[in-house]
Every structure is written in structure tokens, then in C-alpha cells.
Symmetry: C2
Subunit: 253 residues, 2 copies
């Protein structure tokens, strides 16, 4: 309970608490203890941006890792990467963003987050080759993890990285992904699947759950629970997926 209390304070970056002196000393001590528990490793997270990317697909993970950065006193590093450094906008021409690094000059990362977009956008990314080459190169060079959110799975599947693995994706395209890539096994009614270096999550907001799960793995359940509370979000690993009426579903051409 005490550690949770300390994190509740830290999360809101409160420098102006009217703490009793005794409480303050306890706070300091607990922060030190917690920091030593969680600061064993640095965790580096790269987030792939591209034109028409779905904002919530990567914003959820980015927020979770940002809170983890607060709580670990900076041991989490989060940055964005893209084909080049030109500004890109999220789906529907909305948020205008400038990436931190190109695919060529990005630092090493432990996790590469690949968010999704509408299916025409995903097909165009696959056709571009630059992205598939990058993902293949990254997988070979790094001992890191590929984390797809939603239809981001369509950008990894053609590289063969899913072959022999259990994976998941957005409920509406799940049957299509299974048919297009029969060497992978699509799992339904879950928020994410962890297959070691390959981690896949289901639709849009499932990116929050998979990121919380990864923070739990890296830094323990206490930090994960504090981030859930800070975001006022209820973590869940399973979810009965919606069913498209009349058996409708997406099919790649």
C-alpha cells in the first residue's frame, strides 16, 4: 500500500504537497526503495509513425511508457521513427507530428511499436517495400521485440516473422489475416498475445493493455498498477470480441 501511495504522488509530479515531515521522510525512503527495484534495466521504445497512422493505436502505449518514465526516474526512453523527418498527420489529416529519427538513423530499441491504420493504408505500406525491409533489418539486427497494435500486424506478417506464432489483430480483420497468413495462428477474444520477440494486440485501445503488460514484465506489478490508476484505466487481458452482424468481415483482394 505504501508504495502505491508514493507512486500516486509521483505520477502527478507533485512538488507542493503539504506533507508532514514524517510522511515526507517515509516518501523519500519508499521512492528510493522503489527506484532500486525498478531501475535494474533501461527500456527503450521506438514508435513507428507514417502518414494516416491511427492516433490512438500508438498514443495509448506512448502514454503508458511516458508514465513509466516518470516512475522509473527516466529509465524508460521513448522516441518516434519514420521513413524521413517530414511532418506526418494521423488518419483523416488530423494531428501533425514530426518524427524524432529516420528508419536509418534511429537508436537501438528494445521494443518497436507498429501501430495500425485503415486497410488501404496498410496495403500501401506493404507495397512501399521500405517498411518491410526496415522491419526485416530491425528484426535481424536487434534482440528486440516487435509489438503490433491493431492492423499494424499486416505490416509484419509479410516478413514471415509471424510464421509458426500465435498472433492477434483488430476483430474485424482477424479472419482475413488468418487466411492471408496461414502459417500463423490467429487468437481471438484476447487483448494481446506475447510470443517472445513477437507481441501482437487487438483493436486500437488494446495498445494500452499490451503496454501495461510490458511495463509489468519490465518493472513489476506495482508500477503497472500505479499507471492503471494514473490513467484511470482498467487493464484486461481477455475480452469477448464484438461480432460483425450478418457474418460480415473484411477480405483482402
Amino acid at each position: 500500500m505504501k508504495c502505491k501511495h508514493v507512486f500516486a504522488i509521483a505520477l502527478l509530479s507533485v512538488g507542493s504537497m503539504k506533507l508532514q515531515a514524517q510522511q515526507h521522510r517515509a516518501h523519500e525512503q519508499q521512492m528510493h526503495t522503489m527506484a532500486s527495484e525498478v531501475q535494474q534495466t533501461n527500456v527503450r521504445i521506438a514508435i513507428l509513425l507514417y502518414p494516416d497512422v491511427v492516433l490512438q493505436d500508438f498514443a495509448g502505449p506512448m502514454e503508458v511508457f511516458s508514465k513509466a518514465k516518470n516512475l522509473s526516474q527516466g529509465k524508460y526512453t521513448v522516441f518516434t521513427v519514420a521513413k524521413d523527418l517530414k511532418p506526418v498527420r494521423t488518419e483523416n489529416g488530423l494531428l501533425k507530428m514530426t518524427p524524432d529519427y529516420t528508419l536509418e538513423n534511429m537508436p537501438t530499441a528494445d521494443y518497436l511499436i507498429i501501430p495500425g491504420a485503415s486497410m488501404p493504408v496498410m496495403h500501401a505500406l506493404v507495397d512501399d517495400k521500405v517498411y518491410l525491409d526496415f522491419i526485416k533489418r530491425w528484426s535481424k539486427k536487434n534482440d528486440g521485440h516487435l509489438v503490433t497494435v491493431c492492423t499494424g500486424a499486416y505490416l509484419v506478417a509479410p516478413t514471415g516473422a509471424f510464421d509458426g506464432k500465435k498472433i492477434t489483430t483488430h476483430y474485424f480483420v482477424a479472419d482475413d489475416l488468418a487466411e492471408q497468413y496461414p502459417k500463423a495462428t490467429v487468437v481471438k477474444d484476447v487483448r494481446f498475445v506475447d510470443e517472445g520477440n513477437i507481441i501482437t494486440s487487438s483493436g486500437v485501445t488494446s495498445g494500452i493493455d499490451v503496454a501495461l503488460y510490458l511495463v509489468g514484465k519490465q518493472s513489476g506489478e506495482k508500477m503497472k498498477a500505479m499507471i492503471e490508476r494514473a490513467m484511470q484505466y482498467t487493464y484486461h487481458e481477455e475480452e469477448k470480441w464484438p461480432v460483425a452482424p450478418n457474418g460480415m468481415r473484411y477480405r483482402s483482394q
Copy 2:
């Protein structure tokens, strides 16, 4: 059921469905019917950006309104506004963003979304005066709605716009907000409070719920339900808030 089916397709922008001709005609007819139901009004949403803003606070609403834009064939307009057009980064120096408009030259909007940040950042924004002046000016000039997410409430409270209203905010600062602004009534264990032109939501991810609620009000429950499914998110209006251990809480100096 049929309308839901149509929207499931539209949400993923599927141009390559192997639809039977009959299904395709039914789809077209249903899209037309639905479009005529929801296209009665244009809805314009402005999102306030500033340095160190919390990404998830505005990303949730922006995603919901972006999906509404898809489903209404463009009747939703979403843009960002800031003090000036210089790039700003989200909390912890993460996502680098360029605003669309300044506070001076922004178009009229029906909803002004005010996301939150850590408390030191919120206090600095209040001290800046530019923001309070903008919110006062905006409130007077527009017949629009102010929508706060999380600690964004602290940027509206000093303008007096909350006086006599029910409001909510992030659970950890709720008692402090109530003490600082006793003319407002802070409501707990809810995701948001709608008081007409003043709409407030609780912590971080509650921005998704309040935006879904507003889409439901503007465009009906069918569209709202389809966006929930597209985001694989379970809408909720009430939530038993976490309790900080040992009675700890935030206090403004």
C-alpha cells in the same frame, strides 16, 4: 443490425470487399440512409495543445471524433490550437506536434477540448494569463462547449465558468479542486459530467468516454456504438474511482 454492419465496413475504409452485388447495393442504400440521419449538422472540434500536455488526454477524444468524421462523410471537423504555431511536445518531451491554428486565428468551434497535464504545468498555464484570457474570450464569443479532460479542469476553474456547476476531474486532485473552487460541486465516481456548455471528465482515458457521449448526442447511438466497436473500447459513464492509500491526496499550495 444492418446499419451496424454498414458502419463496421466504413470504419475500416474498406474499398476492396468481395461483396456480392446484392450485399453491395444494400450497403450503398444503408450508407445513404445513415448519412442522411447523421448529416444534419456540422460539428467542429478544437483541441488545445501546449507544452507538456498529456497525450492520452486529447488523443482519445481526437480518435473518437476522427472515426465520427469517417462515418458522417466529413461532417466532423477536428483541428488543434495553441498559443503559437511553434512545435510542442507532449509530457516528458515525447511526441513532437505542430498546431493547426493559434488562439487568435482559430476558426469557430462547437467544442473546445482542454486536456490536462501534471499539476506544476497546470499552475504555470494559469499564471501565463494568455490561456485564461483565451478561455474567457472564447466562452463569451461562442455558443460552444468547453470540455475538460483530467486536470484540464484547473485551466477553466479560475475563469469562474464552473461556478454553480457540477464538475469532475482526475480522482487524485478531486478534493483539492473542490477546496480551491468551492462555488463548483465536484462529482466523484463518474467518467464525465455534462452541464450544458460546461462538460468535464475524470482522469486521462475518460476523454474517450466523454467524446463517445458527445458523438451519441450529436449523431445518435448507432454511430456511437460503431465507434466503440471500431476502437474495441467499452463505453462507461460511471466508475468507482481508485482511493489513494492512507488518505493521501494532492493539495495546491
